[in-house]
Amino acid sequence: MFNFRTLVEAQDLPRTSLTWLLVAHAMVVLPQFWIHLPIWVLPFWLVCFVWRIQIFKTRFNYPRWPLKAVLVLSLGIGMFLAYGNFLNPESGSILLVATFSLKLIESKTTRDGWVLIFLALALISVGFLFETHILYAAYNLVTLTVITGAMFGLQNTSHKGNKPVGHVKVALKTASLLLVQALPLMIILFIVFPRFPPLWQLPSQKQSDQTKTGLSDSMSPGDFSKLSQSKETAFWADFLDSLPTKKNLYWRAMTFDQFDGRTWRASSLVAYPTAPEIKKQGMVVPYRVLMEPTQRNWVYALDYSPLVANPNINIRDFQTFIDGRIESIVPVMEKITYQLDSYPTALLSPSRLPNTILVQNKKLPKTGNPKAHAWAEALVKKHAGDPEAIASAVWSYFREQEFFYTLQPPTLGENSIDEFLYESRRGFCEHYSSTFAFVMRSAGIPTRVVTGFQGGEIDVPNKRVLVRQLDAHAWNEYWVEGKGWIRIDPTAAVAPNRIEMGLLGELGEEQASNLLGTDTSYGKFKNQFERIAGIINYKWNITILGYQQNTQGAFLKGLFGDVSWVNLLIYTILTICVFFFLQMALILKPWRQKAPKHIRYFNALIKHLRLFDPNINATMTTLELAQSSALPSKLKPYLLQFNAAFDQIVYAQKPEPAAIKLLARSLNIIVRIKPDKN
């Protein structure tokens, strides 16, 4: 009896399952084309999908190897033409979709059905790597329900009896019910399961895709004006105490201290990994940032934020450098949140800076821009080398002369600084900061360019700032001994509105509404809708997507106090067990398993009477039992009593409570009468 050969030969894929598998297949694959899959894969997928439907309708046959070979070959050719090689991160997901589609054509048995289900789950995961929007997540919830329905449908359908009508619908209904039951445990696990750091380093993504991510490793004229076209979100900031005004919102990302005549870059000295000296003074402004992934290491910090361990947030993933910058140790591949304290009026490196750094910040290319050099020399003479006076003079020059702040600055030639200062006088923040730094350095004052963001869209009641890519900015810092790096923003001299009110304020209402699309009433409505959607999206990002190590640590500490890895793991296992038993109880409802009392008494009676006559079984009525000749006569009066009480309970309109008691009493007496041992 234990040597069963499994009789379950490969059964054919049942129709219900195939229906839902096809739906799930389409639901999983189609959004991928929008998210990351190149469009030339679409015909390939379409061929496989339609073919399988035709097989389903028994119009086509399963493809034989020539067609499959053609499909695979065409896919290979497509990949080669698009990428030039096969070893590519993108090719991974293309191969996955290809496998999924090819398997669909080949699917015949239930085993194939399972493979398709697993491939669908893998594709959903891949999809989430590229897109995490709340709508996409909700959509995938529906897709998961369909996949679960397909799993349900894999039960062999060739059977007798109570086959539910409309089996296809039942599959989906059952799947939904099961998923709803699974939600509580999932939520608990999501909260409690420890978030480990990545197990291995990922190969770095393409470095070339700069325009998408915003700021870049270098600054050349024209960079920032390109960025100004992008309404994309760079990050959100929540202020936990006081909300600074827009003109005080300088978000530092990178510093550039090396100029080659046209482009500013960061030298290796900038990455000196000692903590900058930040002399705290004045008020403290605590804030929390939720930033979009940049695939880079920089992190936005409000001047000036020392990197200290905050009791709320785990900061071991960050490091700070001597230039006052904060970076993430691993590239920011996913949305992250972090909390810092800013001291806006603190001093940055007020006492001595290492000489190498001072020298670096005065370096200029040996040739070029003679007029600017001359001017700098004149300024030094005029103000006796006083850094602050010289800075003020340059700044005033920008303000008093006819300089313009424009999104479409003219291109500059070889002596870009001279051309800008004396000829074009039209530029964006990068021109002004670059020129300022040049002149200051020429005057012998250590000056550098700081890039990051300035301002943002302030939501006053919620104390929240939304910073977009178009808020990217470049400004300057010059160093004075005793006072440290002093911030100066030459753009403010030319376009004060840009600083006070943001780029949109500076451009004037007409240009601004044009940029935002609010110049029509439909645009206004759309903007309002987008604003609400933005708030929802923000909440989604902060609570769910941003739930990584540091936020989890803070949240759980709030609930349980200090937790270590071990404790967390124990909590996870404990909650799984607790929920398992809870679910079991809710599903099995053991409190409802008990039959009504009179039935239980009857069963007990049968069980006892079997000792006298093994033929007695539950199909006999109480009257038959009472009249049975197989039972000793001394039982008879009690059996009749039992019978009367039982009938009363079962057949009367209103069973009397006394009947149950009588039933119990009779049963007790009967049970005491045991058969004689023969």
């Binding site: 789950l121 893998a122 995938n140 999501f190 099995l588």
Partner: protein
């Protein structure tokens, strides 16, 4: 050919089967209780868990909250499914609903019913080495399933302990149990056509209790009508009387006076099995011709008679000859 009781052949692991016997005793009708239902993840379920492991690694490595969410949702779905699969099988009532005797070489159809008293049971499968069947039952609405057994020897054919399992709803876990419904059926010897009768017909020998069987038709005398009794041949009913409103009456004829047809084991030649098969053939012939006949098997004698009950007794005697059940 062995005469042995069929169930003796199927106990390769005595200890385990004793444990099962004790836990789930034989019964013609039983209800699977909690301690009698076993559950484990199926092969698909294990593959599913491995898949989830891979997704978890991806979630950890890419620090992606949504992949974590999907992994956890599917894991809890797996946990819920285990409970539901177990619940689908536990509490099911299985009752044997009859089996007909067969001739050697045929297949026995053991019928059983599954029923749920408090809930429906879906996609229940019963499996033996040789056959399987699947069905669903509603609340208090039973479904019939059939298990087929081959017959290898004559005698009693027992329905072995079979496996009852379910993978509802998602196929990620299997709940199963082993049930023995204590059902057996008779396997009669396979009737082999033979010319025994002709041999004896040509002999005019008349000895005590020997047979002279005349094939001449129409010799019998009509003795009258009697009320129909169970077992009387349908072709003997007086239909005309019935149509006149006189009720079911059977025409009775005198059996050939003084001559009883006896089937004696010793009057046949060949191996025991062959002889039994030949006798079986004649039992069937005589029964169809409504003749009386008797059976002499040495240790067992059945007095001459006719009718269905007599035929069944005769076939049973033939089936069980030489076994321990005689």
């Amino acid at each position: 050919m062995s005469y042995q009781d069929f169930s003796d052949v199927n106990h390769p692991k005595p200890k385990l089967s004793k444990w099962i016997e004790k836990r789930i005793p034989k019964a013609a009708s039983l209800r699977l209780q909690q301690h009698q239902v076993f559950i484990l993840p199926s092969l698909a379920g294990l593959a599913f868990l491995m898949m989830l492991g891979g997704m978890l690694v991806a979630a950890i490595n890419f620090q992606n909250s949504l992949i974590y969410a999907v992994t956890f949702l599917l894991f809890s779905l797996f946990v819920i499914n285990i409970i539901q699969t177990w619940r689908n099988l536990a509490g099911i009532h299985v009752t044997a609903s009859g089996v007909k005797p067969i001739f050697l070489g045929e297949h026995a159809h053991f019928n059983l019913m599954i029923e749920g008293h408090k809930k429906a049971h879906h996609y229940i499968r019963v499996i033996t080495e040789y056959s399987s069947d699947q069905g669903s039952s509603g609340v208090l609405s039973p479904t019939g399933l059939t298990l087929i057994c081959e017959s290898e020897a004559r005698g009693y054919l027992h329905l072995p302990r079979f496996k009852i399992e379910s993978r509802y709803p998602l196929g990620l876990a299997v709940a199963w149990s082993y049930i023995d419904l204590d059902q057996k059926t008779l396997v009669y010897p396979y009737p082999i056509e033979n010319k025994w009768l002709d041999k004896y017909q040509d002999n005019d020998v008349e000895s005590d209790n020997e047979v002279i069987f005349s094939t001449k038709a129409g010799v019998d005398d009509f003795t009258g009508l009697k009320p129909y009794a169970m077992g009387d041949g349908v072709n003997r009913i007086a239909w005309k009387a019935l149509s006149k409103g006189q009720g079911l009456l059977t025409k009775h004829f005198n059996a050939q006076s003084g001559i009883d047809t006896w089937l004696n084991l010793n009057h046949f030649e060949g191996s025991i099995e062959y002889r039994l098969s030949c006798m079986c053939y004649w039992v069937l012939q005589f029964h169809e011709a409504q003749r009386t006949y008797g059976l002499d098997l040495g240790n067992l004698t059945i007095q001459p008679s006719a009718g269905d009950a007599h035929k069944n007794a005769a076939l049973q005697a033939l089936a069980l000859y030489g076994t321990s059940y005689v």
